[in-house]
């Protein structure tokens, strides 16, 4: 079993899992809110909202380097293995679990 760290979100996970099944990491989305401030529509972190802001809508956006290891069955390599949906910023190996 190998432990990995996602370079985009910093999450740590094992793949494959101890039961022999693969784990497909996906980065969490970022919460944003679109507000009207001084006549302009801007997307901000919800915690940066100001009392005078007019909320337009809540958004869920991908972080920079967003990684999605779920496979795309319509995108295969030379050996007909399905590729992951989004490589993003990649991952690095932390350690091998005994």
């Amino acid at each position: 079993m190998t432990q990995y760290k996602c370079n985009a979100c910093g999450g740590e996970y094992e793949d494959p899992l101890p039961d022999g099944m693969r784990y497909f990491h996906t980065c969490p989305m970022l919460d944003r809110v679109r507000v009207r401030r001084d006549g302009q529509a801007i997307d901000i972190d919800p915690k940066d909202q100001q009392p005078a802001d007019v909320e337009i809508r809540r958004l869920s956006i991908e972080r920079q380097g967003h990684r999605d290891e779920n496979v795309n069955p319509n995108d295969r390599d030379d050996r007909q293995r399905a590729r992951i949906r989004k490589e993003g910023a990649g991952r690095r190996e932390l350690r091998e679990r005994e």
Binding site: C6, C9, G10, G11, E12, Y13, E14, P16, L17, D19, G20, M21, R22, Y23, F24, H25, T26, C27, P28, M29, S60, D68, N70, V71, N72, P73, Q80, R81, A82
Partner: protein, 277 residues
């Protein structure tokens, strides 16, 4: 008096009354979806050749562990197909983790015609699927495989998100995660949300707050009653009984989350069906 080859060919249906006649352009198309590493699908059977002699056959298909369909076309030559059996080898999948279909097709390439489905059902390292004999089953018609899995341990100030993998269908039975709060004074409240990859369709809140510098274990389970331990550190969240399709997500949402608040890796108990992709 010896029979000619033509006479044997004419008599062969009587020798193999329950066989399916196949010829050079006909193939067995073996398809498998699977979740366990190192599984090899072994297909075996027996033909009666035009000369009346039985001929066993065996072949293998390496199944990928990503729930994506793997296929192999097997040419049987001329004769009467008598029986087929399929079993898993190389690993020990439980019922619901490896599913096989065997079709009789004409042509080996993408433009092939499917004449019939002979086998469609689960296999394990012990349990075979067979033709004739086994019923043609759907992948979601049987109880799913139970899995206890560890998700991603997010960085501090990042919520937990677990995605139902491609080709799977989940029923979440239990979810447990630990939240350690930093020293900033704030009344955090944790909720579990379910979305379709974009839009949240269910949300269940803890109903109790977690203050600064505390460690609490959140357990979300269907049929549970919302509540917190009187002196312990457990907090129970009641969640609905939902079936989650591939790409749907289970996530935490923490109101008043602070920069140093840190979730541990979640542990999930799910019932999983193979949908295939």
């Amino acid at each position: 008096m010896a029979l000619s080859a033509e006479e044997i060919k004419q008599l062969a249906p009587a020798l193999a009354p329950h066989g399916l006649y196949v010829e050079g352009d006909d193939y067995l198309l073996v398809s498998a979806i699977n979740t366990v590493a190192s599984v090899v699908i072994v297909i075996g059977g027996r033909m009666v050749q035009p000369n009346g002699r039985p001929k066993p056959f065996q072949d293998e298909l390496a199944a990928t562990a990503d729930r994506v369909v793997a296929t192999k076309a097997i040419n049987l030559g001329d004769g009467w197909l008598q029986e087929i059996t399929v079993i898993a080898r190389g690993a020990a999948p439980i019922v619901g983790q490896t599913f096989v279909r065997v079709d009789l097709v004409r042509g080996a390439g993408a433009g092939r015609n499917v004449h019939g489905t002979l086998i469609q059902g689960p296999v394990t390292a012990f349990m075979r699927a067979a033709w004739p004999g086994s019923p043609v089953q759907t992948t979601i018609g049987l109880p799913g495989a139970l899995r206890s899995l560890t998700g991603t341990n997010p960085a501090a100030n990042v919520e937990i998100v677990e995605t139902v993998p491609t080709g799977a269908r989940w029923r979440l039975l239990s979810f447990r995660a630990t939240l350690v709060t930093d020293a900033n004074a704030a009344a955090r409240e944790v909720a579990i949300t379910f979305d379709d990859g974009t839009t949240v369709y269910a949300e269940a809140a803890a109903g109790v707050n977690q203050a600064a510098s505390l460690t609490r274990q959140y357990t979300a389970t269907r049929g549970g009653v919302r509540g917190a331990a009187a002196t312990g550190t457990g907090i129970l969240i009641a969640i609905p009984d939902l079936r989650l399709a591939a790409g749907h997500r289970i996530a935490t949402v923490t109101i008043n989350r602070q920069a140093g608040d840190d979730f541990g890796a979640p542990q999930l108990l799910v019932e999983e069906w193979l949908e295939g992709a």
